[in-house]
């Protein structure tokens, strides 16, 4: 999962919830859960501590998006973040990172103790404790990369990986890979990318995250409420029609913003038994005008029968009318005879 945008304590909490839910369901990572939550929080606190946050400075870096990413890999969990730092602070930050990376476990413990006892607090509130803890908890060195942003600021990427077993010494993702992914997301105007299980708690955590992207002055506007409903229907459609593999309804969803317009794209494999019925229904709704869809919607609403999972196709109709039919979809058969469904919706 990748997130680019506003960073706050609220977002940190939501990302931790989302990651915890995800890891809980992937049983083999359950034991890492607490450590992962800690590392996420630390990554964020680094963003806040070293990030450029004063209101007066925001304008100069308006086109910069801060970044957070968590990836659950086969043998490890990778957590990374990126933010701007003042050029003057780069050297000291890099020195701190190099120092913690060069120390043994015992030396790290000693440094931790000595910082606690005598540590100087930086102007943004933290000593190197966060960095020391990140290396201690993860058991791997911190990955970092600094690139020049402009005359005043540099962009720093920090990554940390935590493996399933202490014996695993290799890391799976390089900091250059993380930089590459960040650039791809920025080029595609993506604010949020989630790939994973769409069932259980994930939906509400995702909705929370999106809600915070749509909320202005603590208020959700009428149109953004409509957008949120659209997204809920898109996500719940994945678990309704999605192909369940080992009990997971895997899917991918992105939220992007181009020219101040939000788009949501969602894709997943669908079960072959449901394919034909689902495709016919999508095609049928797509062939109707907005007025016809509204009429059909009302007819379904007045039908007292509730289907096993609830909504008699209302979800698809809701997506169609809320976006003013600003959507397209496709079904692709893969070489393994799987059906891959994707939908792209322009929000209002």
């Amino acid at each position: 999962m990748s997130y680019l945008g506003k960073f706050s304590d609220e977002i940190t909490t939501m990302l931790i919830n989302l990651s915890e839910n995800y890891l809980e369901e992937k049983n083999q990572f359950n034991k890492l859960n607490q450590k992962v939550s800690f590392l996420i929080a630390e990554c964020f606190q680094n963003v806040v501590r070293y990030g450029v946050y004063d209101d007066s400075e925001i304008q100069t870096v308006a086109d910069f998006k801060e970044f957070f990413q968590i990836k659950v890999l086969e043998n490890s969990v990778s957590i990374s973040s990126s933010n701007l730092v003042e050029n003057d602070s780069v050297k000291s930050l890099e020195e701190k990172i190099n120092l913690v990376n060069s120390l043994s476990e015992e030396e790290l413990k000693q440094l931790h103790r000595s910082v606690l006892e005598n540590g100087k607090l930086s102007t943004k509130g933290g000593a190197s404790l966060g960095l020391i803890d990140m290396v201690k908890k993860s058991g791997h060195p911190l990955k970092n990369l600094v690139t020049r942003f402009d005359d005043e600021y540099s962009q720093i990427y920090i990554g940390v990986e935590i493996s399933k077993s202490k014996d695993i010494k290799n890391i799976d993702i390089s900091i250059l890979d993380i930089e590459k992914e960040y650039k791809t997301l920025v080029d595609r105007n993506i604010l949020l990318l989630f790939k994973g299980d769409f069932s259980k708690g994930t939906v509400s955590d995702l909705v929370d995250m999106l809600n915070s992207n749509f909320t202005e002055n603590n208020k959700l506007s009428s149109n953004n409420t409509k957008n949120l409903i659209t997204i809920i229907e898109i996500i719940q459609n994945v678990s309704k029609h999605g192909k369940s593999i080992n009990g997971f309804n895997e899917g991918i969803i992105t939220l992007s913003n181009t020219n101040n317009k939000f788009q949501v794209e969602c894709a997943n494999y669908i079960s072959t038994e449901k394919y034909s019925e689902f495709k016919s229904f999508m095609d049928e709704i797509n062939s109707l005008s907005l007025d016809e869809i509204n009429l059909r919607y009302k007819m379904s609403l007045s039908n007292p029968i509730i289907s096993e999972k609830g909504n008699c196709g209302l979800g698809i109709m809701e997506i169609a009318r809320n976006s003013q039919k600003g959507y397209n979809y496709s079904f692709v058969e893969t070489s393994e005879k799987e059906i891959f469904y994707s939908i792209k919706v322009n929000l209002i």
């Binding site: 069932s199 939906v203 509400s204 909705v207 929370d208 959700l220 009428s222 149109n223 409420t225 409509k226 949120l228 409903i229 809920i232 229907e233 719940q236 678990s239 919607y297 009302k298 007819m299 609403l301 007045s302 007292p304 509730i306 999972k309 609830g310 909504n311 008699c312 209302l314 979800g315 109709m317 809701e318």
Partner: protein, 121 residues
Amino acid sequence: MEKLIIEDTKETPYIELDGANGIFKFTGKSYPENVNLIYSPVLSYIEEYGKNPKKQSILEFKWLYFNTATSKIIASLVFMLKAIKTELVINWYCELDFDTMIEKGEEFRDALDINLNIINV
């Protein structure tokens, strides 16, 4: 009939069912994936209430937003209360300029052929 109160969660609303006074309130968000699971105690309560209803029954909705599966539950509640011998009042509270929820209320009014009062708050 004892009150049934179901506290809200991230995905489900605060629900207060007061059969003794014939007042049934739903407040907040509702987008659970499996609505039947969450709302089955509500529907059972209304079914029980139907055996000895008050002269007037009031359904009160103060929604932030809800999914289409919840729409079907709202419709079911209305069907159940329409089928019993009671004067049904439906109050749909929403903010003055909150068109999305006002439209939803109007749609229920048309689709279910009911008197639904849209009340600005």
